[in-house]
Symmetry: C2
Amino acid sequence: MNSVPTNPPGEGAGSSASPSFRPLYQQIKALITQSLQSGEWKPGELMPSEVELAARFKVSQGTVRKAIDELAAENLVVRRQGKGTFVATHHEERAHFRFLRLMPDEGVPHHPDNRIIEVKRIRAPAEVVRLLELKSGDAVVYIKRVQSFDGAPTILEELWLPGQIFKGLTAERLVEYKGPMYGLFESEFGTRMIRATEKIRAVGADTVAAQYLGVPEGTPLLCADRVSFTYGDRPVELRRGLYSTAQHHYQNELS
Amino acid sequence: MNSVPTNPPGEGAGSSASPSFRPLYQQIKALITQSLQSGEWKPGELMPSEVELAARFKVSQGTVRKAIDELAAENLVVRRQGKGTFVATHHEERAHFRFLRLMPDEGVPHHPDNRIIEVKRIRAPAEVVRLLELKSGDAVVYIKRVQSFDGAPTILEELWLPGQIFKGLTAERLVEYKGPMYGLFESEFGTRMIRATEKIRAVGADTVAAQYLGVPEGTPLLCADRVSFTYGDRPVELRRGLYSTAQHHYQNELS
DNA sequence: AAGTGGTCTAGACCACTTT
DNA sequence: AAGTGGTCTAGACCACTTC
């Protein structure tokens, strides 16, 4: 059972000292995030109601509300009127396309077919050590795969995952698992991706890429370097995707 | 002076009929947006305080607050504690990089040098008619320019703007205007871009692009097709950018 | 009918800025 | 001191879902 959060010295409600002031609702938000991270409520599960949380943290329902509002805006939880608040999960239609921005030029988006090319454990290359904040010499799981839409190979991807976290991740488990990879990571390895950054460039297909994607060598491809983060902004995935943009495009909203 | 918004039949506060229910704060938000669109408060200006708006619309301050909260989240207004709420403008540092996602691989981003290549009025091509929702035969202003970073030409851009709105937009005005183009559009043509969608592909540099960007023909380039919208989701700009990604990348956040 | 999130209000006080 | 946005509370009622 958690107890009352406190501002510097101050009492109950809106009173607090000036320096290092932190709103109550942000403290509540941090406490809820901790519970999400620790797995007290698991992805897909129903969370305690706002009234219950207000009682538990000894604050008003409005304060809990504001905390949850922000968590919902960050896609950590999902609110459903009349039902309750649920922990977000990658096992949902709506989540599948949050990290897959490649859309068909015509027609509706649908799920790709995956073909695993290679899975192995290696010592993390220097670049991977840096981006995933590992220690030199740490092991990583390396994955290489091709994704096809309507039978046309479109994405060639390489992934690097911390070996520490993804112990026991084998080609077999990847192949037999149905659904998005982030769903597997969430369910089987307790690691939920909540945010990512991508750097995108145009490159020419090298021999290997040309072969896997079935295009001539030198064909312009989109190259997306992604770093994904879990709770606490810890980087836990590095991914390099090569996208064939003959019949697809990378869709982005500027707002 | 605006008057009280009303839900179907219901009275003042939270009472309303079930069908076609629309929260009060969304109605207030719509009214405020109208005032923004009509120019009652101009970009960069101070808006009436929450208390004033609450009185004007005859609702509680909390309801106005929630309306403004959403407008701030959509970057239509900017709140500043102790000072007030201001109409957002493209004449600010913070706004400059909201629509410019190309970042240097190393070092800090800075503003490009613009070189206007061509400005002319033409009949809108079919594709432009479609995307800008014009009538066949309507005139558009066509602009072609190159942007350089540190003296290196990096972006070759073509723009198509509705001739109706952008009357009198000449090469001279573009050249003499200092600052971001969206600032010019906002100040001189009363059209504020508030949102855009981009479709990104990898293409090979054609002869023209190769020449302007100083790269060999066939060099892979990022091609970004942008449609920008003003109030009411009206499309008012079409832009095709070719980005040289030798020393830059397109930065994106997935969240 | 009971429980959930969603809206609306009224009032208090805090943090920040300007006068 | 006065005005602004920001936080917090308490209570009422609404819309939606489930029992």
